[in-house]
Symmetry: C2
Subunit: 322 residues, 2 copies
Amino acid sequence: MASWDAHIKDELRLVEEEIARSVGSSQPLLKEIAMHVIQGGGKRLRPGVAILSFRAVGGEDIESVIKVSAGVELIHSATLIHDDINDGSDTRRGRIAAYKKYGIQKAIITGDFLFVQGFRLGASHNSREIVEIVGDACTAMAESEILQLNVERDSDLPLETYMRIIDGKTARPIMASAMVGAYFGKGSAGQIDALGEYGLNIGYAFQIVDDILDIDGQEASIGKPLGMDILDSKANLPLMIAMHRGGKESERIREIFNAPKKTWEEIDEALALVRFSGAVDEARKNAADFRDKALSALDDIPPSKYRDGLRELAATVLERSS
Amino acid sequence: MASWDAHIKDELRLVEEEIARSVGSSQPLLKEIAMHVIQGGGKRLRPGVAILSFRAVGGEDIESVIKVSAGVELIHSATLIHDDINDGSDTRRGRIAAYKKYGIQKAIITGDFLFVQGFRLGASHNSREIVEIVGDACTAMAESEILQLNVERDSDLPLETYMRIIDGKTARPIMASAMVGAYFGKGSAGQIDALGEYGLNIGYAFQIVDDILDIDGQEASIGKPLGMDILDSKANLPLMIAMHRGGKESERIREIFNAPKKTWEEIDEALALVRFSGAVDEARKNAADFRDKALSALDDIPPSKYRDGLRELAATVLERSS
């Protein structure tokens, strides 16, 4: 089967050009730091979802959606830079994190710069709807980040709170991308909602797979050590399932998770216990359910190679190893 | 004479209400951190300039300018939070800095949240002109911040570079506020430019006075220790003038300024030398020149109590002690 982005390569190339143009600056260092992150091997999931949604509802005048797609990716890059500072991550996709290479000060400013450039692109079409969709997603992201910090080290976190975190952090921005694409493609209100539903559920699935990869992935593929969420005492679905399960092993995982400091040996021990508990399979089942919901939402969209691309993307999200 | 904001008290109250509404969040902590900064005794210079400019060109439908004025103040607050992290400042206007009270992580996220909420208000009127004016100012701020970091510890900094820094950091945002106000007030192109020119020059004067207060102010009034720019090896006009002057005292100031670490005794010594050099008076003369340029720009604006307010503000900027 064709890759999910097989039929939108040209559009994605235009997005890259728009991104490069938008991070141009009288201060070359701003562009350098921005490009360090932007060219770090991201999947361009958000622009891809926007463009496929645009095409899937029959959109033709591509210019509008290119700008907003680039804007959404710039905002995403801004959050990655600030998140890495907040998470204390040394690497991002196998490359040194921006703040580690350039210092926290310059990383904060570059993140701010990318927020501004992204929002400018999002607002460049004088469309209140687009500003609201993108703005709502950005607000949800900030709220989710603060919620995530607030519940760190909580081994009894309810699943509902976990869902609220991944809703704002990952699902809303992808939902916004899909809606923006469908909006510019002049989709009907029903189609915009259906594609939003698709994006939201793809987002949930994507984040759960991210969580699984942190427990059970290949370090070489994901470009960072496994067990970062245990190290940082952060919400992670398989980890939460294993901690909620009860019993001696569950207790030991909690003990390690709750500790303010932990050794890599302890993290490896917790990883092994989570894997052994079957929690990874259960989490994967959850991700598959969200993927299925995303696929169902596409039933209201007429068949096309772009709808096929959205379907293929749903499969890729679940099967990805990086 | 009346205070500069005597005739726009009602409008400024509406701005406060809009700000409070905009930082409402499902996460109460976001609002708490935001309000810690917003209620920290800021002068509301940017909204004030916007509203006076709006009224001075005959603007009547106040609703539009209130939202954007609140937006500009939120963006300003966002930069204050991030700046304090970058400067390592312990206090802001006599209160503990947000990142010191809540931690760097939550402060970064709250800054991002305020950027988003500010930009949303700025974009809420479907006006490409407004998005461009506010966007240009935000881009200039980020560029100026990175430039400032790049030239830290440069005791030979050309005056031209200093002007570029304060242009982006302080003058452009105030210029943008004036232009936005004049635009919404349906001022002519000439009036919008004239008020922009006013804002730009008020901004230069404001920043230079800020620099002077760091050298020669009252700690109790400005709410932080004197000599922060010496401590941080940052561009500051009287300091630069004194370092460019040559001679033994100049050399000693440079020595202290350039040192990666310095004691408070050394900072006090440098402060005394800068004060003794006459550089403060020279800097004050520069600030007065910019104020005069700002006042001249108002000649193209018809007389009114609002134009008087802008004139009064120009005087206040120069005479302020906090």
